[in-house]
Each structure stands twice: as C-alpha cells, then as structure tokens.
Assembly symmetry: C2
Homo-oligomer: 335 residues x 2
Amino acid sequence: MKLASLKSGRDGRLVVVSRDITRYCAADNIAPTLQAALDDWENVAPRLEALYRDVEHEAVPCIRFHEHDAASPLPRAYQWADGSAYINHVALVRKARGAELPASFHEDPLMYQGGSDAFLGPRDPIPLRDEVWGCDMEGEIAVITDDVPMGVGAAEALGHIKLVMLCNDVSLRNLVPAELAKGFGFFQSKPPSAFSPVAVTPDELEGAWADGRVHRPLLIDYNGQPFGRAEAGVDATFSLADLVAHAAKTRPLSAGTVIGSGTVSNRDADGGPGRPVGEGGRGYSCIAELRTIETIRDGAPATPFMRAGDTVSIEMRDAHGHSIFGRIEQVVEQA
Amino acid sequence: MKLASLKSGRDGRLVVVSRDITRYCAADNIAPTLQAALDDWENVAPRLEALYRDVEHEAVPCIRFHEHDAASPLPRAYQWADGSAYINHVALVRKARGAELPASFHEDPLMYQGGSDAFLGPRDPIPLRDEVWGCDMEGEIAVITDDVPMGVGAAEALGHIKLVMLCNDVSLRNLVPAELAKGFGFFQSKPPSAFSPVAVTPDELEGAWADGRVHRPLLIDYNGQPFGRAEAGVDATFSLADLVAHAAKTRPLSAGTVIGSGTVSNRDADGGPGRPVGEGGRGYSCIAELRTIETIRDGAPATPFMRAGDTVSIEMRDAHGHSIFGRIEQVVEQA
C-alpha cells in the first residue's frame, strides 16, 4: 500500500494513496497520524491495507492527490539514523583528501544520529541562512521500522522494515570538516531532511525489493537537468536490513524509526569514479561527489554548492515508468 | 511548577506534582501528554500553573506520588542533543590520552545528536547486553525547549527554556574510541538515557537558576556511596542557553527538544583534577572521569565500569535539603 501525510498541524493527517499516486482517501478514522499507525502497526496495517484495496477498486470516494499538499510521511519522527551503505561515496570523499578507506568500513557501517524533530515537506523550500555553508542535496533510500528488539540480526531486521521512502538529506558541506574534527559527528552540518510525498510497503516494489535493497535507479535532476541516475541496488555494500541491525546493536528501536541508506553512489562501469549523466555515466546523488571527482581529476572542485534559487528533484520510477514514491522537489531559499 | 509523566503507553500520562514531590493531580484533561503540552505551551502552561497552585493549596484532590511510577518526563522525544558545557571533563579525557585541548573548545561547544525514541524511566534498570562494552553513567542537567527559531542568540534562547531536569546519559565507553574514529560521532555507544522523575519550570529553582546555569551540587551516589558532589553552576564554560543557541544555528528546534549540559565536572579547589568525595573533593559525575584521573596519576585506570548489579543514583537538593527533581536510581541489568 501507499501512505501519505497531508499537511495538517505538526504530524499531518494520514491518508491512503492510490498506486498511481493520483487519488487519496482519508485514513484518519483508522489512525490519526502515520506515527499513531506505526505505534500499533500489527493491528492498524491490515485495516489500512483493506482501505488501500478499496481505493484501488474505486470502492470508496477518493479525492485528487496533490504531491505539494503532502508533508514528509512522518512530518516529525522520534528517530532518524542515516547510514552510509554506498562505500563508493565514502571512498571517493576520502580519496579526494588523500586518505585511505579503512578495511573495517566494509564490515562495520558508518551511521550518524540525525535530527528528526521537524522534517521538511517534499515540496518545501530548503531554508538556508548562509550560502557560505555549502548547501548540498543527498539522494537516499530510507525505511521506517516498527519496534525492533535490541540485538536483532539482519535477517530478522528485514521483517521490521514496514515502509520505504526516498530522502533528500540536506547537508551543509562547509560546516562538516570542523564539526567532524571536533569528534562528536554532524550536528549543525545536518539541517532538516525531506522525504518523498508517499511511503510504500516493500511489496509495492515487487521484484525491485530484494536483499533489503531497492533495485531501481534513483533519478536526480539539478536545476532541471539530469544529474544522477545511480542504480540503488548496485554497489550497496550494506542492505537496509544491515543498517537496521547496526542501529539496534546496543538498544531497541521504537516504532517510527527512520533509517537512511546514505547517498546512493555507483562506480563507473569500468570500476572508476562515476561519470556525469551527460557523458553516459550514472551521475551523482549529491554535489559533493562530483566535486571530489573534479578534485581527483583536476586538483580542485569546479561545481559550486547550491545557492538560493537552485532546485533539486528526486524520484524513482517502476519498470513501467510510473513514479513509485512521488517526487521530492525543492528550491533553496535565503532564510 | 513541577510536572511528571506517569507510566502509561508510549508517552505517559501528564500530572502536576506538588513542590515537595509527595502528591500529584492528573493533568491529562488539560493536555494528555507532556509533548502535547509543549506543542501548545503558550496556551497550556498557564492552565497547568493554575492547577499547580491548586495542588499547592490542597484545593484539588491529590494522590500520593511515587517516583518509581514515573517515566522520564518525555518518555520519548523528537530531539535529544547533548552538549559538553564542562570543559574540565573534556580536558581531562584528552589529557589522559596525551592530547591537547583545542582553544576553539572554549568558544564552540561540543554537541552530539542523541537517540530519543525511547528514554529509560528514572527507576528503570539499565539493560546491558555485554559488560565488555564498558557501561558508564553521566550525571547531567537537561532542559526542554518550546519552538526555537533558527539563528537565535543565547539571550533569546534562554527564554525558550521551559523546563529543567536531571539526566543519566548512559554511555558504553569501550565502544566510543572505535566509533569516534569512524568520524560520524556516537551511535552504538549511546544507548537510551534516563531523566529525573520530575521536570520543573526554571522559577522553581529560585536563585539557583542564574545565567542559564543551575547553581546547586549534583549529588551522585554509586553503589550507595557518595561519588559526585560537583557544583553544576561552577566550571560550566557554556550555559544551557548557549547550548540551545548552538543547536539552533542552522535550523529551528521543535517544541519538546531536550538539550543536555554534558557531564557535570569541577576542577579541584587548587585548579587540578577533582579529588574523590571521600578525600574531601567534589568527586565525579561519571566513572570515566575518575578513570582518566587514575590514568594521569598512576598510568592506568583502576575503577572498573559498571557491571550487572551496580547502582547509580542522581539527585539535586535545594538550599533546605529538599529534592528538586526527585531521584534517578538505576541498576545495571544483564539484557
């Protein structure tokens, strides 16, 4: 099924959306918010699934769904933890600054605790106080779990993934080096992220959901031009289930936990760094990766970070070309 | 006023507690949960204050308040960000491993994003899967804000501090070095924290609340013996308002954001590292600090981290000896 939260108050209003993302039926008589549904998922999900079947069969009255009316599926969440499943991205960033990739990075995922108190809506502007901070997009896959016990393995973790979304993990790149040098991880360099208008159960992905990975290209346009076409199922060293298990090693995870894949990133077909889409490559899911490649190739980055007025869109389509999650579409705005 | 959340469901049941923490009156007719109260604080707080006056004047029927029935005031929160206001603690940890303290640490606070999806109750056991992980307590002051706009200064941030609590920021010390070496900050090394049974408005602290600092000793007992008596108002390089402003530099903070002071830590009267309480010093608010002092003095730490059965209590008393927030009291339990 497909779920969305229409903008309303702090937590939105839960609706069931048709498979083609054109119609919705209010579901707040079943659960007022997506968080409330997740808090009692075992009981609530079958009722939402039944409504979804009715929506698909046009057995209930539906209303036209406008993606710009949607908040992020969880407008605020109790947990947002973002991994780095695509080691290619991490390796490139390190190579650009002349650092080796520790072998342990292939066994032990990178993950940071992100802020989750207020996500941006999928069509909300990205408010930026200072362009010098180096605003960047990061196109990612994200999942929402139910309650996950402490110490689960990846196989068990897979069953706790209830919903899948896309994410724009907004980053302030020029604040990262000083912040990471302090040793406590990202904080000011990670302002609120945005998620796709619609969250879907894994079965909606059909064959594209396998091994805890989404096997479809992540379509990223920057200022209206194709920028990223990376295959999300390729070069993912860790599955989303691996990342859930990593997060749950020393503590349980509460229902409504959002876990991110990190920036989707592919090596080039020849094993080297990815080429731009315009040169026949799969492009990039963030500007920083292009800048690292420019640095490795030319000694310095050429592409600037995002400035007021720059736009990014993030989408994924099924094998028939239909949007699965709706489209994240954001413009940077001086705040 | 003093507020608590009695254990009930995922978010507890909001009650107003008498100043002496012996009686309560249900407040869920005003707001069902503390988060709901914070979401609409401007309207809700005056009604809670009115009920608090009635509780104090015994103008409403009250029920005996048992601290072990309380969850953390926010049983789960949308944000938990923990600073390091007490640079003495940071300096000692660095000195023990032979590292200098960067001068910038006196201007730019350390802060990490913590997990907030499920806090431990103040009398809940600390579940520990593996003693090898090096379980430690951290005694801290924590505040809860209302909505804080992006970019506020410290003076304005002060007005957004609505409630004050104590915190036990449980840490798994032996997981810290490898995790910080990866560069993304704490994650597995920071399992759920616990907060005091009662959260209080700053006016309840009377003269002890000044300059965004709480000027009372933090009383920590370990296995029934006095372990820490550090003055929370002393050696706090950053105020709680400074930390709120730091958190809000690049993004707004949503109502119900919890900001921690970091481990309370005092230098000795002679300017050196603190001495144990038993030797006339102010002791320590975590075991790691004692271990760093042992390392600096003797070349190696002698005091082990917490093991199953070890207990910690954290409390603060007013000038008349009355408990302000109730007592955090936890035992480590094999999970």
